[in-house]
Subunit: 278 residues, 2 copies
């Protein structure tokens, strides 16, 4: 196929090669990704004999994803999540020996309050609450010095603080430097299950596919330490009715825990393992 002929000699048989040939990416990786992207994109259209109307609907779908996105909402991340792409990459680009990763989700906010070990993250501190105790270790199980966590969760009602007018935005999330022995603790409540935002194009897709928008209840954790590869993960709870149908495919067996009772409070013990960087 002569990809050097003028671009207006294109036809359905040579257009994929023409488009690929029009790019001269600087790196072999860039070329590989670009070539693969165009091949899959055209392959999708070719194999399905995609109609003009269907194509216009797809482009319009992405446009509407952009319209509903904002600093607080990323409909494209959500789309990647419900199509299992986020989980796919979480699983395949995972550091060996580390805790399994899970989706970042669209609710991560980088401005959580920095609090000390032991902090109570509830907006009103009545009752003993749920004590979360954790340790950050290396791949051999040794505690890591200088580790830190970034945690965000919903309240029992399934709302993040930023969504709930009745609690301050800073509730149920924190950044925390761990103790020298890699340990952290905080007091909170069990989060509630919730639905991913389904009032946008991704919600339409879920409904068209007869799928649920519910996610099982979970904590989000970002775990980091100097010299180690950060992980983004989630913690789920035994018995949650949505464990098997998570809208974003984020559940992993190794990330499901069960609280136990000690005296007057419920306790969750967590162990996170990080792999060395580089």
């Amino acid at each position: 196929m002569d990809t050097h002929a003028p671009a207006y000699d294109i036809n359905p048989e040579n257009v994929t090669e023409k488009v690929i040939a029009s790019f001269s990416m600087e790196t072999p990786r860039g070329r590989k990704l670009l070539t693969s992207l165009v091949t899959h994109l055209h392959g999708f259209a070719r194999e399905n004999q995609l109609t003009h109307d269907e194509w216009a609907m797809a482009v319009g779908f992405l446009f509407r994803c952009g319209e509903i996105s904002s600093a607080k909402r990323d409909e494209f991340m959500l789309l990647s999540d419900v199509l299992g792409l986020s989980s796919f990459v979480d699983m395949t680009d995972a550091p060996v020996g580390a805790t399994e990763g899970s989706v970042l989700g669209p609710f991560y906010a980088s401005d959580s309050p920095e609090v000390a070990v032991g902090a109570d993250l509830r907006p009103t501190h009545h009752g003993a609450g749920l004590l979360v105790r954790g340790v950050v270790q290396d791949a051999e199980g040794q505690p890591i010095q200088g580790a830190a966590i970034d945690m965000w969760q919903t309240g029992e009602n399934g709302l993040y603080a930023t969504q709930d007018d009745h609690v301050p935005d800073s509730a149920f999330r924190c950044k925390m430097a761990c103790n020298e022995d890699g340990r952290f603790t905080f007091v909170t409540v069990l989060p509630g299950p919730y639905m991913v935002p389904d009032d946008g194009p991704v919600g339409e897709l879920l409904r068209a596919g007869g799928r649920t928008a519910w996610r099982p209840a979970h904590f989000h954790f970002l775990i980091m330490a100097p010299g180690f590869r950060s992980i983004t993960t989630e913690i789920f709870f035994e018995g949650d009715r949505y464990l098997g149908t998570d809208a974003v495919f984020g559940v992993r067996k190794s990330l499901i825990v069960a609280p136990h009772r000690e005296g007057d409070r419920d306790i969750i013990d967590l162990v996170f393992r990080l792999a060395a960087a580089g």
Copy 2:
């Protein structure tokens, strides 16, 4: 592979099937498209061992496409255009016997002024201008009664009127009902070449790929008639330096014309053919 096992038993080998199984599309066409989409999307990630950073860059790219899009700018359409997907669908979903289609592009505005045959579309009517004469025919070459055109073009400076503060928004575009013999004429200027908007994510992609953002000069036409399938197409001009490197792969040999001179003015004769609907 057991796709009915709980979703948290997913791993890189079964996740694609799990995601596909989570959808129950109402129509066979919906199921086919969805299955193909997820297969290609995961296939892209799998074949390239897509890293978390690359995935995040891709999701961020789409988010930024949304940020820069507006009622007057569709960065997703532009992305489809520069990746040749729009042209692919234009070519493969083309009605038999009709004029070749070409990209709609991001500058179509549905509110062009309705004018009579013979209208002068220039903002200032000095000089004879360029006379465009056309006829809308059926696939057998018979004129179609009740045909109409929707035309938009840049001025000689390569700017659409909506981009050019010096001309009213209504210049260089029109909706026109053809005469009973399918004929239309209007007076205008030759459009100029221009660059697709390259100040957004798609511009970054073009630069990363060493590609030009230039398009050859062109008229856009939407041609429609009751009982016929509408076409979206473009008309290009012989000798244009950008014919062979159109950033959006819109040029077709059959859509290139050459003005000829009659008396004191330049004339372009156009023939559009429509295929019967259904």
